[in-house]
């Protein structure tokens, strides 16, 4: 059993908290401190983004953070180093667009990710149909390839995704890009139930979860909740990194208190 699956299993029925930050944002050291705040705030799994120039699954907040990281010279190597620093303490999942894997060389990418202790890889632009070779490579390196399922996915596709999934399934809460939203979709519970019917793999929900109230709602139906854009906004609004980390930690503690 993979470390991710172990983590879900050991949590019993409590929903896991999975905060996201773009690797190297606001800068490499700042990102390290935000990751410390994730740990202090009670994160169960860390999700770390590899900044990409053309992140077409992301809304404006994550896009801007990726561009800022790239402008500051952050590369994949920096992100892997950050992953390695934290993977002793918590499972780490990397979110990476496929061209960053392809350009680096898939085998080399997976080998170095495994060496950094990365537990799972989310590739938002690699749907299951294109992922066969990638998934096989992940399994060889002991990494869980994390597949996404969307509210638009047909029953047939959900079955296919569920059949290939390991670690957890990333359930996209709404048809859209990442970014905080004021309301959750009404159809989220029925969508999750549909996926649940087809698999025993844990389900984590992301895209649009922006406060404790929504996280609490999600936690009634899901095994994990992913929060990204809201955390980046908190960092942006804080003024300096010290305040940003305090705000991130207290936000995560607040969310953690309401997860069931």
């Amino acid at each position: 059993m993979s470390r991710l699956e172990q983590t879900f299993r050991e949590s019993g029925r409590r929903t896991l908290l999975m905060p996201y930050i773009t690797g190297g944002y606001p800068d490499v050291d700042g990102c390290r401190r935000v990751l410390e705040a994730f740990v202090a705030g009670g994160a169960d799994i860390i999700e770390l983004g590899v900044p990409f120039s053309d992140p077409l699954a992301d809304g404006p907040v994550v896009q801007a953070s990726a561009q800022a990281a790239l402008d500051a010279g952050v590369t994949l190597k920096d992100v892997l180093r950050l992953a390695a620093e934290f993977s002793d303490r918590l499972p780490v999942v990397l979110l990476v667009y496929y061209n960053c894997v392809y350009a680096y060389g898939q085998e080399r990418f997976l080998r170095e990710a495994a060496a950094a202790g990365v537990d799972g890889l989310v590739v938002p632009d690699l749907p299951v149909d294109e992922a066969e070779e990638f998934m096989a490579g992940c399994h060889r390196e002991g990494i869980d390839p994390i597949l996404l399922v969307a509210p638009t996915s047909s029953d047939e596709r959900i079955e296919r995704i569920a059949g290939s999934a390991s670690g957890f399934i990333y359930c996209v809460s709404v048809a859209g890009v990442t970014g905080a939203r004021t309301e959750l979709s009404d159809s989220l519970p029925s969508f999750l139930a549909k996926v649940r019917d087809r698999t025993d793999v844990p389900l984590a929900v992301g895209f649009g979860v922006s406060d404790a109230e929504q996280a609490a709602e999600v936690s009634k139906h899901a095994d994990g909740v992913i929060i990204g854009s809201r955390l980046i906004s908190i960092v942006n609004e804080a003024g300096d990194i010290e305040k940003a980390c305090d705000a991130v930690e207290s936000f995560l503690c607040e969310v953690n208190r309401v997860l069931v």
Binding site: N99, T152, V172, A175
Partner: protein, 392 residues
């Protein structure tokens, strides 16, 4: 009938899961409609009476003199309604959208020609249309922005990344992901996830079909060479496709060398790029060692794109099409020459294809050459005036 999703190893559907069912739906609808008699008739009717087809194959005698006396013909796509080949595709796709019951269309645009063609097709069918356009392109192509607005489209400026075509495509895809139920995305070139590259190619193939017939009529034989500019690659695929099996017809694609390939400021994805994944397909790209997409550069907004259609990548690897490049300066010179000597102001994109003929040696009077004049240059006059020092 099924629609191909790969050209050799290129193409595919590297796109978020949310979009996949919509691509399946599109492939299914197109597969059913493409050989449907009613659909074909409706499309052909529009191509004839609305777009203004067939476009002429024109013997450019002065240009011929400059090309070693070869017989040089221009396929006059600049005479299509809205001023470029782009309308062939948008008319076809809007018919698809209508058959699929979509109530809103979106598009991206670089030079603005595809945006205008999308807005025109949407106006024709009474559908609301949103066009994403990079801020940098909005500045360069003001005329087309006004045209789109007059046609009732909403033009949304894109300020992310390089603020050009690539970023406009990202933004259009984001809109599509969000409004997938009711929205049809009209892609403007042979790029994007499958089945788009095949669909756009099919709708543009009318250019080559006509050119083939006209060549046989005018010269009694097939051309020795066909030349077209390549940005995303729709006008070139359109004219090349009916000749792919004619081994005697040399096919030449001309990419933008911008300020020179050696400067790194260019748009020559095939000539100077590497394989990678952008906008849903595997093809050649301008990128750094970590896969970050580089900004393309060209004086022509329509060639200012760091990728290229996957079928071009395949045709390059197969050696069927020869890909060359032409600099901004050479394109500008050709722009002036065609204007002065033939009375035709070409689009800066198409001027790249003209420039290749002027630059290449070794043409003789026995050669029969067809250049795809993909668009007219009205949209480029401000920029040309600036570059040529004609501005007041």
């Amino acid at each position: 009938m099924s629609v191909p999703s790969r050209f050799g190893e290129y193409g595919g559907r590297y796109i978020p899961e949310t979009v996949i069912p919509a691509l399946d739906e599109l492939a299914r609808a197109y597969g059913e409609l493409k050989d449907d008699t009613g659909f074909r008739q409706e499309l052909q009717g529009l191509l004839k009476t609305f777009v203004g087809r067939p476009t002429p194959l024109y013997h450019a005698s002065h240009l011929s003199e400059k090309a070693g006396g070869a017989r040089v013909y221009l396929k006059r796509e600049d005479l299509c309604h809205t001023g470029a080949h782009k309308l062939n595709n948008t008319v076809g796709q809007i018919l698809l959208a209508k058959h699929m019951g979509k109530t809103r269309v979106i598009a991206e645009t670089g030079a603005g020609q595809h945006g205008v063609a999308s807005a025109t097709a949407a106006a024709l069918f009474g559908l609301p249309c949103v066009v994403y356009m990079g801020e940098e392109d909005i500045r360069r192509q003001e005329l087309n922005v006004v045209r789109m607005k007059l046609l009732g489209a909403e033009v949304v400026p894109v300020s992310s990344g390089s603020r050009t075509l690539k970023d406009a495509i990202n933004e259009a895809i984001r809109d599509w992901v969000t409004n997938i139920e009711d929205t049809y995305y009209i892609i403007g070139s042979v790029v994007g996830p499958a089945p788009y590259p095949a669909i756009v190619r099919d709708f543009q193939t009318v250019i080559g079909e006509e050119a083939r017939e006209q060549a046989l009529e005018l010269e009694g034989r097939l051309p020795d060479e066909i030349i077209a500019c390549v940005g995303g690659g729709s006008n070139s695929i359109g004219i090349f496709t009916p000749f792919l099996d004619d081994a005697g017809v040399q096919l030449t694609g001309v990419e933008a060398a911008g300020e020179g390939l050696e400067t790194g400021r260019h748009g020559a994805s095939i000539t100077a790029g590497r394989r990678g994944v952008l906008h849903g397909s595997l093809s050649y790209l301008l990128q750094d060692e970590f896969g970050q997409i580089l900004e393309a550069h060209s004086i022509s907004a329509g060639l200012d794109y760091p990728g290229v259609g996957p079928e071009h990548a395949f045709l390059h690897d197969e050696g069927r099409v020869d890909y060359r490049s032409v600099t901004d300066r050479e394109a500008l010179d050709a722009f002036v020459l065609l204007s002065e000597s033939e009375g035709i102001i070409p689009a800066l994109e198409s001027a790249h294809a003209i420039a290749h003929v002027l630059k290449a040696d070794g043409y003789s009077k026995d050669d029969f050459i067809v250049i795809n004049l993909s668009g007219r240059g009205d949209k480029d006059v401000h920029q040309a005036a600036e570059a040529l020092g004609l501005a007041q």
